[in-house]
Symmetry: C2
């Protein structure tokens, strides 16, 4: 179990530390990367050595967050995990660092309290918001580069201020970062607009294959191995497909089926007010949240779809 | 020519007025509708009669902005246009009200100063931001319903805080509206996520027909009458298609060609840092902004595309 600490404690730990290693979660996103590089830049600005480690390659689109930073090699004296709710999420770094993490800064209510010290703000939209408070408590001078790291975490974890977690505090913090001077239009275009041609191809094929049931209240979008091959899509082209079926007017339950090897399907279910995604997926051995949940099924595509539709009909009233 | 007035002047005009008619622009969007109903609600809250007029039917998705308001019928004593840069944009209401508009509240630098009094903030992202300042100067008590009107204008005109116009002031105003209590997640989902099935069909067909030129730096997306017919798309399904070609990685110039009757094409050009959309369209008798411009061409689809590509190549360096 972790000792729960507050912002001032975390600021004190970082202010007195030397040679800090910052760990992100695997399959890194804008919040874990932005949080880690905000800290890295701030610590270096204070004359300390600091570096960021991630189990996976950081996608190219995040280059602007760190491309000017020089490599630093050192034996870490303080190890800090940011936006990492569970040591499992460190991926291949888990075996190296588990049990040695001094501080975790996070915003996931599900944090398993694995670090020696835990600074947790479960009501914040992004870990970058917690990091911002820590840097303020350290009296760090916010450069544009630091502000861009914080803004990136904020913007990506709120879907560019679209989701319910994008509250007043998130907007005010974004405004504060803008006051410092950030390239927010470039950041948002890079994060939200630009798609690879393979991704566009895949989306087109996936939309063509969409099937509707129960007066179009259920939309099922299969993404088969053949579609992925034909479009030339890579793993990072697959992000953000799950919400598409539920974005269609009148759809209560949107289902995305992604074919893996051996006729195994990874299934994402998205719902609105009318249906409980977690309840649907639980029937099939999966789980998740009320509006977004998942499960896995094996079999022929048509059979898997039939199972999904039958389960939805059995769980959701009046569909 | 208009008399240019400030926020306090506009507040005084509205505070002393009775029986106010609020005019929106044709093909109404979230900013003109949000601005008009924010004013309408505030004026009614002060015990005055007020109503909103628009040349076109207001799309259903905006119902939440006014569905609780009762109809009021009266001969207007004060006529106010909001977010209307030119009387032409009043559509069929132009012939009725042109020359009779007492006050225009706007944020378009291109406003032609047609109203008796003009309150213009060309550096604001949305007309709703100007309206918010006027309501504050009137000491109006902001209800949740008024705050939702203001937020809707802000959010829609900034692409949910994604565009370059979404600066610090816009974020802080959004936060202020959230403090009052608004359903911003419902609003953003309604404005940005939900698509009709016909729209999805049309998008799929349009993406399938996309053509690439000059090492994929130019992407051209024709939207033909046949595509529109086959997908069953209506006029309000056509919004927001123009940015799609430029969202593809590596594309400098994105062109959307929408076929009208008689082999006439309405053309939208979108560019990034590498090209000037206005310069391209100017060559073909059109115009617009550096990043977004338009023109019209007549002819066979293939000839029109060739003309566009040739013009782009002649105007844009190193493409």
């Amino acid at each position: 179990m972790s000792r729960l600490i507050d912002v001032a404690d975390a600021a004190a730990m970082l202010s007195t530390a030397e040679d800090v290693l910052l760990l992100t979660h695997q399959y890194p996103d804008g919040d874990t990367i932005g949080s880690a590089f905000a800290l890295c830049r701030a610590l270096r600005g204070l004359g300390k050595r600091a570096r960021v480690a991630c189990a996976d390659a950081i996608p190219e689109k995040y280059d602007y967050l760190f491309e000017d930073l020089e490599e630093q090699d050192f034996e870490p004296q303080l190890i800090v995990a940011v936006d990492v709710a569970d040591p499992k999420l460190l991926g291949s770094l888990q075996s190296v660092y588990n049990g040695r993490i001094d501080l975790c800064i996070d915003h996931h209510g599900s944090n398993v309290a694995y670090a020696d010290h835990l600074l947790l703000r479960a009501d914040y939209a992004a870990a970058a918001m917690v990091v911002c408070e820590v840097l303020r408590a350290m009296n760090v001078t916010f450069t544009s580069a630091i502000a861009e790291c914080i803004y990136t975490g904020l913007s990506t974890d709120t879907g560019c201020f679209k989701y319910s977690n994008a509250g007043a505090y998130a907007h005010r913090m974004a405004a504060d970062m803008m006051d410092i001077g950030i390239r927010y239009d470039m950041i948002n275009r890079t994060m939200f607009d630009i798609k690879s041609r393979a991704r566009v191809e895949l989306e087109r094929r996936a939309l063509s294959g969409m099937r509707f049931y129960r007066n179009d209240k259920i939309a099922v979008m299969p993404i088969t191995c053949a579609m992925i091959d034909e479009s030339g899509a890579a793993e990072n082209d697959m992000e953000g497909l799950a919400p598409l079926p539920r974005q269609i007017e009148g759809v209560w339950v949107g289902v995305t089926l992604r074919e893996k090897a051996n006729k195994e399907f990874k299934i994402s279910v998205r719902t609105g007010n009318h249906a409980d995604a977690a309840a649907i997926c639980k029937e099939l051995g999966g789980g998740g949240h009320v509006r977004a949940a998942g499960c896995s099924l094996q079999g022929e595509l048509d059979d898997v779809i039939q199972t999904m539709v039958d389960t939805i009909v059995s769980v959701v009233d009046r569909i």
